[in-house]
């Protein structure tokens, strides 16, 4: 194949150059990520399954409501009963690891974008690239650089899942009510106080929507990442495709769906106070407290 501009060749030359001249930096970086991910997975697996399932169901009960708590419990029962618990925990660990990394990078980047139009102008096309480049494409160089396993899976997931956190943090901060920001300044906030006391709290619903989106995108990506050996439920999905095993495909797919619903509803509840502001137990407890104070006053 003859090209006028061999961009593909340049990219592969660049990757080869990095591989040839890397003196263990990539490897030690990979170790850190692998260690982090495995520590989470080991923790989740080491705990008895009823404890983890119960804890998440309680979280759902607290944040969303008793119906959702029941749904969580039933979902975990199905996952355990179909034998997908270890794979689900492995996937959950991958999601947690890549989400934590995505947010640690993404939220500060979003804040920086909101503070500077120039930064925003540079970062935006990079985010477009990260989100729209087909995921398989950067699985290959990631696997070449870090070897097969969890590390390229987590890194590819971070690339794919980080943009919503960046975008929605930036958007949220820019959309904080103008007079609220002015009030912050008028009462003598330093730029740091303004960020912590006015802008971030004001952008919180948007930032939490970003966190929610990041988690959901991470979930879809870690399934694909099984192609480079990241493990988890993706392995079973991949196996069912290779063997044309409809039953296995449905069971593993069902676990993915149930996990997705649980993660989505719980993280969503941390964003806006939700459709019914009085539904959460937290809000109910606060109302009770306020009433008691009022009756004492």
């Amino acid at each position: 194949m003859h090209e006028a501009i061999p961009i593909g060749e340049w990219v592969s030359q660049f990757i080869n150059f990095v591989l040839a001249h890397d003196n263990g930096t990539l490897e030690s970086f990979g170790h850190v990520i692998a260690g982090f991910t495995e520590a989470i997975e080991d923790g989740l697996v080491a705990l008895p399954n009823w404890l983890v399932a119960g804890a998440i169901a309680l979280l759902g009960l607290w944040r969303v409501g008793w119906k959702f708590g029941l749904f969580c419990a039933a979902s975990f029962f199905i996952i355990i009963a179909t034998g997908f618990w270890p794979a689900t925990m492995s996937t959950l660990a991958l999601i947690i690891a890549s989400t934590v990394i995505s947010l640690l990078l993404g939220i500060p980047l979003g804040i920086w974008m909101a503070a500077s139009d120039r930064v925003a102008a540079v970062v935006r096309p990079v985010l477009d690239f990260m989100q729209t480049m087909p995921a398989f494409v950067y699985l290959i160089p990631a696997a070449m650089l870090f070897g097969l396993g969890k590390v390229p899976g987590v890194l590819a997931t971070v690339i794919f899942a980080m943009p919503p956190a960046v975008r929605l943090t930036n958007l949220g901060i820019r959309q904080v009510n103008r007079e609220q920001v002015e009030a912050g300044i008028a009462f003598g906030c330093t730029p740091r106080q303004l960020l912590l006391k006015v802008q971030i709290p004001g952008a919180m619903p948007s930032i939490m929507a970003g966190v929610n989106q990041t988690i959901m995108m991470a979930l879809s990506m870690v399934i694909i990442a099984s192609m480079v050996g990241a493990g988890g439920l993706g392995n079973d999905v991949l196996a069912s495709i290779q063997r044309l095993d409809i039953g296995l495909g449905f069971e593993s797919g069902l676990s993915v769906v149930l996990l997705a619903i649980i993660l989505d509803r719980i993280t969503e509840s941390f964003g806006a106070s939700g459709p019914q502001p009085n539904a959460g137990l937290r809000q109910r407890a606060r109302n009770l407290l306020a009433r008691r104070e009022a009756s004492q006053a």
Partner: protein, 409 residues
């Protein structure tokens, strides 16, 4: 109102200019050459927000900045605490040029001595009422106990202590703005900036909040700069007002004075259709050149005789008796004086017309309108201490109504 007339200047604004755009220097140059802001915008795309504004705001007064939307009044108030950076000119607060302060000084000034109330209230939705009220103190680094204690005091002042633990979203608009007011009062600033503070409220609530502000002002005089587009509001709360047109301050002064002597057609049009008699008090229209004053007589026969002579010579029928400290004693007429002198043992009380009451200077013009119109005699006007301030006659009444008619024509 009178008490602030001789106060020192709290704020002095000199040649203040604000240009929005990337090349303010070009616009400044063109302004100096005398080009109109529309012309500058057409040629350079630079928007002139405020154009060489100069005025003084006295300590302890409520200074209302009036103008139509787009006249630059919200921009102007934001230049006073530098929410917007002035392009040129000076803003002196207590003699210090705010426009030249460094960031540290500016933050210190905002924390210590000036605060702001916003049109949309601008409360932090995630904070409770008391946390919102304590915001300025929190930013300044005061400990939680102390700042919440202080916040509770100001919430008490605005009547919201019972709602301290509620979130702003649980309150009505009027109550939310009380929180905004409490937040601005908490740091006990000597200067408060209020940007259309009551414009988002319905007329009843607006009136109520103006009352709250006036009560607070009676308790403790602060300098208040109040942006408004509501003339009724300006008349009710404003000691003095500034009228803005197209980024320029076109007239500054007492609201009634401006209404009577508008500087240009814009100001005249601004006041047209506004019923000034709604805001006039009897004291505003009382005049001292209409009715002669006589001292309390020492020698009744001689003094009253002279008074009758004097009234005849100037062709007036009524006069007022005042004592040495200018307290009003009573109303007399040629007839009542003559009747008194004609008695065998004349007493001063016989000369006083008992059916003519003194009008308090603070009572609204409209309330006395029919009474003055139906009686031939003048009414004496006194202040709250009984000191004579002037007279209201049918002539004065007619002159005012005619002025009003021609102003609105």
């Amino acid at each position: 109102m009178e008490s602030t007339v001789n106060s020192p200047d709290k704020i002095v604004v000199r040649n203040l200019v604000k240009v929005f755009g990337a090349r303010p220097a070009v616009a400044l140059q063109m302004l100096a050459e005398g080009l109109h802001k529309d012309e500058i915008f057409r040629r350079t795309g630079q928007i002139v927000g405020v154009q060489s504004a100069s005025f003084e705001i006295r300590a302890g007064e409520i200074f209302v900045i009036m103008g139509l939307s787009g006249s630059g009044k919200s921009t102007l108030i934001r230049l006073l605490n530098r929410l917007l950076e002035p392009t040129a000119g000076e803003v002196q607060v207590d003699g210090q040029d705010v426009a030249a302060m460094d960031r540290r000084q500016l933050i210190d000034l905002r924390r210590r001595d000036m605060s702001m109330v916003f049109q949309s209230f601008a409360l932090m939705p995630h904070r409770t009422v008391v946390e919102n009220a304590a915001f300025g103190l929190e930013v300044a680094g005061m400990a939680r106990d102390r700042r919440e204690q202080r916040a509770m005091q100001v919430l008490e002042q605005v009547g919201l202590a019972a709602f301290a633990r509620k979130l702003p979203s649980e309150l009505s608009g009027g109550m939310q703005q009380r929180v905004g007011l409490a937040r601005a009062l908490a740091t006990d600033p000597s200067l408060m900036l209020m940007d259309e503070a009551f414009s988002a409220l319905d007329p009843l609530k607006r009136h109520e909040m103006q009352g709250v502000l006036l009560d607070l002002q009676r308790e403790h005089k602060r300098t208040i700069v109040f942006v408004s587009h509501d003339l009724d509001e300006a008349f009710r709360i404003g000691d003095r007002i500034a009228i803005m047109e197209g980024g320029r301050v076109v007239q500054v002064g007492d609201p009634h004075e401006i209404a009577r002597n508008p500087a240009n057609d814009y100001v005249r049009a601004f006041f047209r259709g506004v019923d000034l008699t709604r805001h006039l008090t009897v004291g505003d229209i009382a005049r001292t050149d209409q009715v002669p004053l006589f001292p309390v007589p020492n020698d009744l026969t001689a003094d009253f005789g002279a008074a009758v002579e004097h009234l005849r010579s100037i062709k007036r029928h009524y006069g007022f008796l005042v004592d040495t400290s200018h307290h009003l004693v009573g109303v007399v007429s040629i007839d009542s004086l003559s009747r008194c002198l004609g008695q065998s043992r004349p007493a001063m009380a016989d000369a006083l017309l008992s059916h003519v009451p003194a009008l308090p200077g603070a009572s609204p013009f409209r309330e006395v309108l029919s009474r003055v119109a139906r009686n031939p005699h003048p009414f004496p006007v006194v202040d709250s201490n009984g000191i004579y301030v002037g007279a209201v006659t049918q002539t004065i009444l007619l002159e005012h109504l005619c002025d009003e008619e021609s102003r609105n024509a």
